[in-house]
Amino acid sequence: MLIYMIRRLAQSVGVLLAMSMLVFASVYLIGNPADILISMDADQTERARLVQAMGLDQALPLQYWNFLLHALHGDLGNSFVHGVPAITLVFERLPATLELACVAMLIAIALGVPLGLWAGLRPHSWVGKGIMTGSILGFSLPTFWVGLMLIVVFAVQLGWLPAGGRGPTREVLGLSLSVFSLEGWRHLLLPAVNLALFKLALVTRLTRASTHEALTQDYVKFAHAKGLSPARVVGVHVLKNILVPIVTVVALEFGALVAFAAVTETIFVWPGAGKLIIESIGSLDRPVIVAYLLVVVSMFTLLNLLVDIAYSSLDPRVRLDEQSA
């Protein structure tokens, strides 16, 4: 386990380093942040002053080196646009994104697992086939389009739910969350459903495939032969086995969900980190882009680790230190 942790840690440091380098280089190549940030009617002197203030006048490797030095002290630089530490900005916005992603994931799991089980247990029934075909729809509809449709139907036509924004929030454990009020949920529902749709399809199909697979296994037959009730066979023997792939995928997809939230957040004006990153890419706010990616990739890595640990508790056959590098 220790070795495993060391290995993972070394890997993540490598990943983060490589990533920061890539982001640095690519933002540099996309354009000069000064061009977009500085107001058009500023003159050359003003420009020069700002470019210097942002450290953009130095050679790129030097900029990167300075960044690294500061990063080692936990300082990822100030946002060019907002003037505040980029990392603060990201952490300020992250709870909203996490909240959205969690609710979306919960929706996906709460609906996807039962649907997938049903389809897996009765693959030839019409309901089962219907679920599978329906799940393809989840894959097929571009998120942004569904989002707009949801807004048009539920906010504009029916007027049931607000078209965008986040409801009132409450501080809980230092996170401002909006799930504690009805209004909060009203705001949360549409974007969460929008975000959940793709994952719902994924979870459904995965569950079905795993169920299908598990059902052909000898241990299921053996469980039946023991005289267990079908409910127990499915609820304990099958479920516990399909949990392994589901947990893996769900956790890994959670990272993707956070990343993909960018689109949903833009459409629903959800004040989360995804919207921040889109805005930051738009304004070449490099410190924020770097900080965001660092946070997201760290989260990915952490999730990966957690998955592996969860894995070993769910599937006793997996022993962490035996996964060869």
Binding site: D35, E46, R49, V81, G83, I151, V269, L276
Partner: protein, 504 residues
Amino acid sequence: QELRIGLSSNPSSVDPHFVNNDAISAVVSHAYETLVALDADARLTPALATSWRAINDTTWELKLRDGVKFHDGSPLTAQDVVFSLERPATIVNSPSSFAAYTRAITGKKVVDRLTVQLMTATPAPLLPNDLTRIFIVSRKSAEKASSDDFNQAKVQAGTGPFRLVKFTPGTGVQFTRFDGYWGAKPTWSGVTLRALPAESARMSALLSGDVDLVENVQANLVSQFRQNRNLSVFTKVSSRVMFLYTDHRESSPFVTDKDGKPLERNPLKDARVRQAISRLIDRSVLADRVLDQLGVPTGNLAASGMFGFNPELKPDTVDVQGARQLLAEAGYPAGFGLTLFGPNDRYVNDKQVAQAIGQMLTRGGIVTKVQVSPMATYVGRASKKELGFGLLGWGVGGGEPSGALRGLLATPDKERGMGATNWSSYSNPQFDALLNEALDTVDDARRETLLQKATALALKKDYAIIPLYHQVSTWATRKGLTMVPRVDEFTLAQQVRAEAEDRK
């Protein structure tokens, strides 16, 4: 009674001196005021200063309004003014500093509690205009405060009709009425500004009653909103002018012959070609069809009615025949090829406009490709002069077009801050001379004439850039509200009233 406004921007700060950005200034204007203000038509009007005059070529004297109280309870004094004029330069990490507007001031003198003198090194006719940008804050509160303190509403340093309650980045800003306001008591007990940059979300928010007022109505919805019984629409020709810049250099990237092979000589260098381009563009179709009437064809930089507007410069009308003739005279009877660049996320229907222009030019024989990209990438390439032909907008701010002429058309000169955005590489000594003279002229009438002359020279004679139209700003409110729309596009709760109350 509270007013809820849907903004099309997402304010990143509410420190009035942090970032020089119109959208933020508009938000901040609820709580802070300037010495000199612009009225709805961008004419200078007294605000915290009741009067200002040049006592000589390099000294301005301002009289402050008496009885003005800051939100923190302290009264407005000359000391606060001096502090406020110095503060922008102390904010180092600002991405776009207000210091540009205070740099001309070389000395400040407190004459008495309500009188300030500002000294400049050279004549500074535009100082009052510059002062419309600088918000006055209470020295008592702001002296030790950081931008963060402003954002967290820890300091209450403004004099405006509203007081900041809460600023939530990415979500919006909340204000409440300031009862000690010196001017007319605001109608609204509170104002909520919600950041709704996504157009459809903003429109839906109005339609579903989540907000009372939105700015920048989606162009294609304007006529529909006008007919909607529950909504009112307000429009105003804005000071933002849209134009095409053309490359005046010997050769230009992306200029090709009709088959896409690079041309040795840059046709755009020929004024006749530029004129031909101008004539190929049907500005009324752009304004009426593409922009859903959110544009007014123009041949000027300043909007009509603004200081420096030249009524003699009429927008070119479409004249395909004439244009072809001009092209033939210039040696391109068969036309040539161009790529038109532009942003796709900045101006009203910008990408549609670019494509429509592409159509018009192509039909006139100038085969045009259209490439639009987000402003971030576009500006980066354009400012390096990698692009030869592009669409750009310019908010002619500060009440007169000198800034625009200086930035866009003057021969680049780093020392004097000229031609910083002269992407077309236009250079005409005659124009530079006119402009320089205007910039040193304190006498308003004479300056206006000089500016008009300079504009005419660059736009009509040289076709240095090709003005297209002025954008029309739009607002929509729920029925029962009226507002006074502003040429500078600011959305201010101060200018919104409930109709019923008006009748009372």
